[in-house]
C-alpha cells in the first residue's frame, strides 16, 4: 500500500467515525460480542468475536428466539415465544435485568433507533406491541396481519414494518400514532424483513416462495422479486450486497443492491437463520440452528470462515452484535 492510499484510508476512516457520531450513539462502533438466543437450550450465549468462543451463557426460559440491541447496546432485548415475555439483558453485567409479559407468541423484535422504544411481534396474537423500556410497560398494541414475525424500523424512527407470515404481506405502522397505515402484498410467507442502508427499500424473505420481495418504501410497492435458496429466513446488507440465509439450503444467497443481480451462493452451517452485518460491513455473522454454531462470513472474499460453538438451537432472529 502506498503512503498516499494509506492516508486516504485514514481520512475515510476518520470521516466514517464522524458520520457515525452523528448517528445514534455507539451505532458505528466496532462490535466485540454476539448475543445468541439458543432456543432449545433456553439460554442466551455470549460469543467473543475475537476468539470465536462462547464465553458466557445466561439462562432465559421460554424458548428465546428474537433479539434486538438497544441503540447504546447496553441492553439486549429477547423474545420468548413460549414464555410470552420480553426479556431485557444487561449486556455488561450479562444478567437478566427485567422481564414482562407481552402477549401470545412474541417472536420478532426491533428497537426504534430514535426513541429507544421496543417493538415486539406477537405471532399468535396478530399484533405489534410497543414497550417503553424506561417504565418497562406495554404502552400500545396494534393489530396487523396473521402471524407477524420479522420487524424493521426506518432510520428516522417514523415507520415500523412487520412481516405478516400467514397474510403474505408487510404491514406498515406509523410509530408516532401507533396505527397501521398500510399493507403491502409480497411473496408467500414473509418471515424476515430488513431495510437497506439509506432507508429507501425494504427486503422481505419469503419462506415458502423461496424469494425476496424488494419494496420501495416511498411508493409502498414491490418493485422486484429476487430468487434465492430454499426457505429464506433473514436478510443483512454489507459491501453493496444483500445476504440472505437459506435455512434448507445451508447457504447464503448474495445479490447486488445496485441491480439485484446474483453474486454468489456461500455454503454455511445447517439451518442458517439470524444474520447481521458488522457496522463496518466487513463481515456478516450467521447463527446456524442445525449445527449449533455462529459463523463469520467475510464480505470481501465472500467465504465462510471461523465458527463458534454455541448452545443448542441458535436462532438470533434480529440484531445480536454488541
Amino acid at each position: 500500500m502506498t503512503g498516499r492510499s494509506f492516508a486516504r484510508r485514514v481520512a475515510i476512516a476518520v470521516a466514517l467515525c464522524i458520520a457515525g457520531a452523528a448517528a445514534p450513539a455507539m451505532a458505528g462502533e466496532a462490535v466485540r460480542e454476539a448475543f445468541i438466543t439458543s432456543q432449545l437450550a433456553d439460554s442466551v450465549g455470549v460469543v467473543d468475536l475475537a476468539t470465536m468462543k462462547q464465553v458466557a451463557e445466561i439462562a432465559v426460559s421460554g424458548k428465546p428466539a428474537g433479539i434486538a440491541m438497544s441503540s447504546q447496546r447496553d441492553f439486549a432485548y429477547v423474545t420468548t415465544p413460549d414464555g410470552k415475555e420480553l426479556v431485557a439483558i444487561d449486556t455488561a453485567a450479562r444478567k437478566v435485568a427485567w422481564r414482562i409479559n407481552v402477549g401470545e407468541g412474541p417472536l420478532g423484535i426491533a428497537v426504534n433507533p430514535r426513541s429507544g422504544v421496543v417493538y415486539v411481534a406477537n405471532w399468535y396474537g396478530d399484533e405489534i406491541v410497543s414497550v417503553d423500556p424506561k417504565t418497562q410497560q406495554v404502552t400500545h398494541r396494534v393489530k396487523v396481519g396473521r402471524a407477524p414475525s420479522g420487524l424493521a424500523v426506518t432510520e428516522d424512527g417514523a415507520t415500523i414494518l412487520s412481516a405478516d407470515r400467514e397474510s403474505d404481506a408487510i404491514s406498515v405502522i406509523d410509530a408516532a400514532s401507533f396505527t397501521r397505515t398500510g399493507e403491502i402484498k409480497v411473496g408467500e410467507h414473509p418471515f424476515g424483513v430488513a431495510i437497506e442502508p439509506g432507508g429507501k427499500r425494504a427486503f422481505a424473505a419469503n419462506v415458502v416462495s423461496n424469494d425476496v420481495s424488494v419494496i420501495d418504501l416511498g411508493t409502498r410497492k414491490v418493485t422486484a422479486t429476487v430468487k434465492v435458496g430454499s426457505r429464506p429466513y433473514g436478510v443483512a446488507f454489507a459491501n453493496g450486497n444483500a445476504f440472505v440465509t437459506n435455512q434448507a439450503s445451508r447457504s447464503l444467497s448474495v445479490f447486488r443492491l445496485s441491480d439485484l443481480q446474483p453474486v454468489t451462493t456461500i455454503p454455511v452451517g445447517d439451518y442458517p437463520e439470524g444474520i447481521q452485518a458488522t457496522p463496518d460491513g466487513s463481515a456478516v455473522y450467521v447463527a446456524c440452528w442445525g449445527d449449533n454454531i455462529v459463523q463469520r462470513v467475510d464480505t470481501a472474499t465472500l467465504k465462510a470462515g471461523v465458527k463458534a460453538e454455541v448452545s443448542d438451537g441458535p436462532r438470533a432472529f434480529g440484531t445480536f452484535l454488541h
Binding site: 432456543q39 407468541g105 399468535y124 400467514e166 430454499s230 434448507a248 439450503s249 445447517d270 442445525g290 438451537g313
Partner: protein, 195 residues
Amino acid sequence: MLGPRTQKSLVTQLGETLKRIAIAALALAAVMPMLANAHGPSRKKEISTIEINAPADKVWEVVGNYRDMGWHPQIGKTEADPGEYKKEVTKRKLTFKNGAIFTDTLTRYEPENKTIAFLTNDEDLKTLPVEGYSSTISVADEGGKSKVEWKGAFYRGYMNNDPPPELSDKAAIAAVTAFQKEGLEALKAKLESGK
C-alpha cells in the same frame, strides 16, 4: 300462541342461523389450507445414531437411494420423480404401510460425504404429528464399520398456542424419536443379515 307473523319470523331466524353456519363453514374451509402450511415458532431437533457392522459404501447404497425408502419398516411404497437427482427440485411420494401419504423434496444429495437430506411438504398428523420434518442422514466409516446419523428437524403438528396433547411438542419429539430409531434399527438388521 304463535301467530303467522311469529311463525314467519321463526323461519327467518332459522334461515339466518343456517346462513351463519354456512358462512362459518366456508370461512373455516378457506382457512384450513393455510393452517396446514403453518407452524409455531419453535422448531425441534432429534439426532439418532446407530453403529452398523457393514462397510459405509454398502450402507450408503441403501440410505442414499432417494427412490426407495423401503428400508424403513413403516414405508410401503416410494414414488420419486424420474431423472437425475436435483437438489430442491426432485420430489417423491411415500406411502406408509398404514396408508398414510407423505411427500418430500430432496434438499441435499452428496455421495462424496455420504449425506442425503429431504424435507416433507405434506404430512399425515395421525402417523407422525409433525410439520416441515427435515431429515439429514449421513454415513461415516469407522474402521470398516459404519456410523449412521439421522438428524431430524421439525415443528409440532399444531400452529396455535396451547396444542392438544396429541399435537404437542412432546408428542412430536416422541414420535420422531421412535420413527428414526425404528428406521435405523431395521437398517442395521437388514445390512448385518446381508439381505
